[in-house]
Symmetry: C2
Subunit: 161 residues, 2 copies
């Protein structure tokens, strides 16, 4: 393996670990549990799952691996806080959407050429990228992996230990 392959393989493995872990955790919940808050007065699992789906869906164009599958999620899970609207998706639908989006991202990152990880991501300008070449695709993947871990820690609090 080249050095670039090693660095990117480590980041891809971390991404896969967290999305599989979140999907597994969420699929172990009943619908009622998905609708519970992770702590009193905090977001419901439902909202966190929808939010992860929306954020991960944005990765597709950001990493140059495809068009968005579910741009409609932004209104529900990014632009407005939990419980702004009556739920438009069932718990099962929101869980399935996360799996669908994660699967598309994972497929795309697995076939990315190692050197392409150092290219700019789609949400940074050429100008800004020249100033700061760490605003690259691998930084985006690692940031989303970290973000998913952040919410995985919250979802975990609902598990019967």
């Amino acid at each position: 393996m080249t050095n670039e392959e090693l660095f990117s393989a480590v980041a891809i493995a971390a991404w896969k670990r967290v999305v599989v872990s979140v999907e597994k955790q969420v699929s172990s919940f009943s619908d009622d549990e998905v609708l519970m808050e992770v702590a009193p007065g905090r977001n419901r699992v439902y909202y966190i799952v929808g939010r992860l789906a929306a954020i991960h869906d944005r990765l597709l164009p950001m990493l140059g691996i495809g068009d968005r599958l579910h741009p409609e999620l932004d209104d529900l899970f990014i632009e407005h806080p939990d419980r702004t609207f009556a739920d438009r998706l069932s718990p099962t639908q929101v869980n399935r959407t996360l799996v669908e989006v994660n699967t598309a991202v994972t497929r795309g990152v697995e076939v990315m050429a190692p050197l392409d990880w150092l290219k700019k991501h789609a949400a940074v300008s050429e100008e800004d990228f020249i100033k700061d070449p760490t605003r690259n695709r691998i930084a985006v993947l690692e940031s989303r992996t970290a973000h998913a871990m952040y919410h995985a820690g919250q979802i975990r609090l609902l598990k019967k230990s």
Copy 2:
């Protein structure tokens, strides 16, 4: 910057972001808040902070950047669950220990040569490393960054929003 420098700079920046964020969050808490559970029946912030200090302390030998500063933390925060013992450290002491350990780790990772990140970490055998060269130092740093994010998400639940 070389490719190896770019890849390692991204991972180091992510590490720094999460440790600074956790330290800032924790330092905003009163002693009473540090002693609160992140959710009913779950670990206290106190225990999570001690655990992060212990796990990060282990990074020093694991990454080959120094000896452990606080091996005594393992007994309190890794080998036994929260509230096994009466607290032997005050909330202030446990917070300070985390900052001390994080500072030592950050200093060490900042001066690591980019190619050294692909060397084996100290907790894997030569034999296993040959079989799987992704069991390297950058994988350990990224895994600890992800772990810290996991707990950052939990600690965040206590913040008055």
